[in-house]
């Protein structure tokens, strides 16, 4: 462990509210200690859920882990909080480039380039994207309406039909100050952006099918472990039990299940007959607000399901 990281770790231990977690998480990421970096980022996000830079840090780490879908949602969330966050524009620029949506990639990289004209890496990346558009205008994929709330958010591609060359992607990622891995089997990030633009799109919103399989969103426990799939599997049973209880007690169709825990509020709802939505928030968010937020997330889930069909 370097002296810098040791010092920042000590500083964070002495003052858990310190924003030094941003520098510590980034330092760990650059050293390739992604699990440790992610744990730092998650802990920081629990304290500063409205801080765009915290979502940006999370997105960078997720990208390095190859989880581009979640990175996309985290960057969209970051831009929802701070539409001018340059690093988030760079990250989204890369992801759109990877997805083959060169027009959206250009918009994000152009914004980043204007905000920081001295950044030669972004300028080079933008030049490459523009060259790609000029060379292959016919392969630009069709676009659909962007789900994001950020005004600077360009339209999201429907599919990554025009995958770029791997070597070019790596070059662009490096130019954007990021390190990425490229598994061709990975889904396009935008294909899974169910809750893009909603706070908690990557942590605290989980869309599950009737069989207990995750459709979108994400859930992490307070220690930073991904618990989405295990919770999704259990939710199917809860939903059936809720429906059975309401029916047998002659209360009609169930509409929602609110659960207060000692350290958080959970709300389970059914956006459609065959899906479930779990919304998780801290105790600082009253249950009434959690329920209202769940309604908005349900609408986003329904829209996404309709687009997916």
């Amino acid at each position: 462990m370097s002296d810098d990281i040791r010092g920042m770790t000590a500083e964070l231990a002495a003052d858990p509210d310190s924003l030094v977690f941003l520098d510590l998480g980034e330092a760990l990421r650059r050293r390739g200690q992604l699990d440790a970096a992610f744990k730092v980022a998650r802990t920081g996000l629990h304290r500063y859920s409205e801080l765009a830079r915290a979502h940006d840090l999370s997105a960078r780490i997720l990208c390095d882990r190859g989880e581009r879908d979640r990175a996309f949602e985290a960057w969209v969330t970051a831009l929802g909080l701070d539409p001018g966050l340059v690093s988030a524009h760079k990250g989204l620029g890369f992801l759109y480039y990877y997805a083959g949506d060169l027009a959206s990639a250009e918009k994000h990289l152009a914004y980043a380039g204007q905000a920081d004209p001295d950044d030669t890496g972004t300028a080079a990346a933008l030049e490459r994207v523009r060259a790609g558009r000029a060379a292959a205008p016919a392969v630009a994929p069709a676009t659909r309406e962007a789900p994001a709330a950020a005004s600077v958010e360009p339209a999201a591609p429907a599919a990554a039909e025009a995958r770029v060359e791997e070597s070019e992607s790596e070059t662009l990622g490096a130019a954007s100050g990021l390190t990425f891995s490229f598994e061709e089997s990975s889904p396009s990030p935008v294909q899974e952006a169910v809750f893009a633009g909603l706070d908690g799109g990557t942590d605290g919103l989980l869309l599950v099918d009737a069989g207990g399989l995750r459709l979108g969103g994400g859930l992490w426990n307070p220690d930073g472990a991904d618990v989405a799939d295990s919770v999704a599997a259990l939710l199917a049973g809860v939903s059936k039990e809720a429906a059975r209880t309401a029916r047998l007690l002659e209360l009609g169709e169930w509409r929602g299940l609110a659960v207060e825990c000692g350290d958080g509020n959970l709300f389970l709802s059914a956006p459609t007959e065959s899906t479930l939505l779990l919304t998780v928030r801290g105790l600082d968010i009253p249950m009434g607000r959690v329920a209202r937020f769940a309604e908005r997330a349900s609408m986003a889930a329904r829209a996404w399901l309709e687009r997916s069909e």
Partner: protein
């Protein structure tokens, strides 16, 4: 009247509450009850205990603490449940006109006394 029955009776005076039962969490059997006519206490007890049990597993898997209160909203009313420690669950059935906020406060108070 036992202390538990007295507490259930007090809960049943909240507007819209059709009845309440104290349930054994493990087997879903009734320990004490205060129900209006037409409410099937045994069904309430069994179903609520099962629901709470499943929710406990789900919240545990999510890395969260034990549920302290839950509300199942349905078109025709609400089922409210408050675990009293690990062995008992306090359950109430409310109509659509119920003051759920007041019922919640009463139930948390009662569950605290029974735990």
């Amino acid at each position: 009247m036992s202390a538990a029955a007295e507490l259930l009776h007090r809960l049943s005076t909240v507007r819209g509450i059709r009845g309440s039962v104290l349930v054994s969490a493990g087997d879903g059997l009734i320990v004490a009850e205060s129900l209006m006519t037409g409410v099937d206490g045994r069904a309430v007890a069994a179903l609520a205990a099962s629901l709470v049990s499943r929710l406990r597993r789900a919240t545990e898997s999510a890395g969260r603490r034990e549920p302290v209160f839950l509300q199942l909203h349905a078109a025709g009313g609400t089922v409210l449940a408050a675990p009293c420690g690990t062995e008992l669950v306090l359950v109430a059935v409310a109509g659509p006109d119920a003051n759920v906020g007041l019922a919640r406060l009463e139930m948390l108070d009662v569950s605290g006394r029974l735990a």
